[in-house]
Symmetry: D3
Subunit: 183 residues, 6 copies
């Protein structure tokens, strides 16, 4: 039995993620899906809370034909410390055999920690670019081909377009920037 | 559809927890099981990592007859701040309707946050006391009636009895306490 | 113009504090009252939030004859680091000339930081002992001679006796300590 | 009795803030003025410590005709966590009924937390822009129309123009950036 | 070339530590001496700052016949997280081959991280017990046989006996414990 | 006996640093070399861990003619808090008389803390610019005139050019930025 690791921020989970998970399950028996930076939310790159991303991912996977015993859905908080990040991650997950992904940085971190890594095919990369998807959601553009139907419904119910608009405004100083983002 | 919340440290998950989860599922449609203090491990009250507790809970529940769509298994890190704890928790979970448990402290925190709370029956409380179960494991006593068979097997494979012995020793000053626990 | 510093946790503010502040104002022109460990609450030594202690102190002082221009009411969060504590404190307060108090530990910290310190008279010390006052509140004993009338009223309105009971219970393991305090 | 909340970084407090506070006091009975990011200082957006901002705000308000019983001056430290920020804030303040401000981001955070929000009129917004005021102070430009007279005096006494120059330089790598800002 | 690791809090460094370091250097070519919990000070188990412990250790070793090229003196801050502690430690030190010490807890942590461990002989263990040495210093007892001569001189110059007395008092509630240690 | 302080991130230590240390030792008897932001690594401005920088600095200084008793090599972690930074630093170092450096920001922080400061000559500033040296290492350019021979050898052995390439990539969103840097 071999387990693969798949780490992402999933802001939001989209159909590209689903395809990747299906691909990974052709390579290994189980996939550990890690929702990274779980405590980070309400900013422009991370509008959704960890709990919201978990719920969206769960509904997208349950709408797919992937058996629930084949995947693990795990949130991990960010510790804002690159040098400890892999050790930190390992405490939240079951033992894995290989980490999937194409980012040279995380690949290096995993390899330094002695973990096997594997690239994944880039599935319609132009289409499934999270930053663009967030912008489309904010602008009210059609994202039906990019997101699971129920994911889309929940994003609307939770008024995520409105949240994206609000967080986009946080840097623009208003009156005496007294009320701007407090950093 | 109503969702219940069930929070514990699960050091380790035992059959009393399983019975409680079964009871909760007679009261609500889904249960959100939260593994609290997920980043805390390797001390006398918390020998297991969050990932290990997750794995043990998953195997115990998969050995039961509870449908996987009925429960959520979620780790949350401790923030060591009682006054923020419920707000922190809420970011990691889907919306819940009622929190189950008998501890007056957490009941108060949930009620202050406007969440409905419900007591649970105390199932063989003398038997299923986590502190005693940890002591039994450390001493190599028989815990077969208290733990799921596969949970027991994994605790042995992971040498948790040895870890419990080691963490028990950390306060006893050795040579000039130079090598004692570094707090 | 000379300013004195008076630091306390004020769990809760009581009439002994009021007398001390009045005494300090016979020694200096202004007193900077610091509510320490402001973010710490909901535990047995610290039931009240910083905001609640501020509100209680403000009402007690406004019920006294002390002019509001004579005192500063300032919350500071704890940083759990004795070696940095005075430097941390200084960032939240105006310049002070002397720190009042009888605790050898804080006196040492202030002196190490080059701040003048002064002992205060021990006003009815047996009576005004915060730990005992908290116990009396929890037990519903009469504390009318110890607390300002409006302080007492607010503690009742906020159900602090109940909170003290709940936090007292947090160590007592309930069912499998699954629901005990998550530390 | 109704209480309004007014949150700002107040780097530095200026006459626009004073006018806003006066406006808010036409809408509610008391205003809770929160000095946010109180522990953040010595950087380009936040030159002043929390204690300095408190002192400046207190002197500006005492120079106005606003009664001291009508306002609360409270520092809160930043926790660098948008999703917990409102819960964190609430621990430091008395109960408030409505939050004033025009920033869509904080408005959203307050509304998500169930707090009523109200926009404020933009008083001479071009004039009272904190970033510009900081730049004017740094350059030694005339800010007499923008700042309270005593605020201005204290900023000079504390050599804030010099501090602003120094923090502006922290990114410019000097010799081998060995001595640059240590982030 | 083989390097050994020797970790301690060194509150304070004593002649037992010196003997241990000499012993380790009969086993390996270089020893990496780690001053743990470097940021922790001013409490009863940890009176000295990291910098003070470093200075004392350096003077004790320079008074010995150990060549300075044979040892490394490194402070590491505590992160209060047992599960990450070894990974954290490794970032501050050069590569080591074996960790020396007799504490079962740290031995377990090192072994879990794949590091070889070795017990050390217990040199006059009854004599060189740090807690007792701290008590003797506090009480003004003779510690000349336990400490390097220059270490002893610096502890007096720094008034560590007085500091130990002051930190011992921090739990004893004074007036309404308003001035006790602010935890 | 006078001690000087020299603080840097040393990413990496280069021959300009060596010359500066030699210069400082013409002004004072001992130099305390502080490796700042010791826990920060694996990012584009800070590729090396604190332990690696310590090792490189030690080898460079041992290759020079500077006596080891003349310098102290000390790592300090960053606390990301400008207002506390000098107080934090002081806990890790022996008493110093003067801080060397040309950065107006740190000069201000040291002066505010009452420490004497001194500018250093800018030794071949165009040559010894750390950012450029990191870029040269990443590109495989010749840095033999800039780095100690053994420093250069270790950087190659540790594959720092590869690490610099990997951390440079962390912002470039890959597939749905699922695997990008998790901030």
């Amino acid at each position: 039995m071999r387990r693969g690791l798949f780490v992402g921020r999933f802001q939001p989970p989209h159909l590209g993620h689903k395809e990747l998970i299906e691909y990974i399950l052709t390579q290994v028996d189980e996939v550990v899906i890690v929702i990274a930076a779980a405590q980070v939310s309400h900013n422009i790159k991370n509008p959704l809370t960890g709990g919201q991303r978990l719920e969206l991912m769960r509904i997208m996977l349950s709408n797919s034909n992937i058996e629930s015993s084949k995947y693990w859905l795990i949130q991990i908080p960010d510790i804002f410390d690159n040098g400890l990040w892999v050790s930190h991650l390992k405490r939240f997950i079951p033992k894995v055999d290989v980490a999937f992904g194409n980012n040279p940085f995380t690949t290096m971190l995993f390899q330094d920690a002695g973990l096997e890594t594997k690239n994944t095919p880039l599935i319609k990369r132009d289409l499934f670019e999270s930053r663009q998807i967030r912008e489309k959601i904010r602008n009210g553009d059609n994202v039906e081909d990019l997101l699971d139907r129920d994911v889309n419904k929940l994003l609307k119910e939770w008024k995520i377009a409105e949240r994206l608009k609000a967080v986009s405004s946080s840097d623009s100083a208003k009156f005496g920037d007294a009320n701007s983002n407090f950093r």
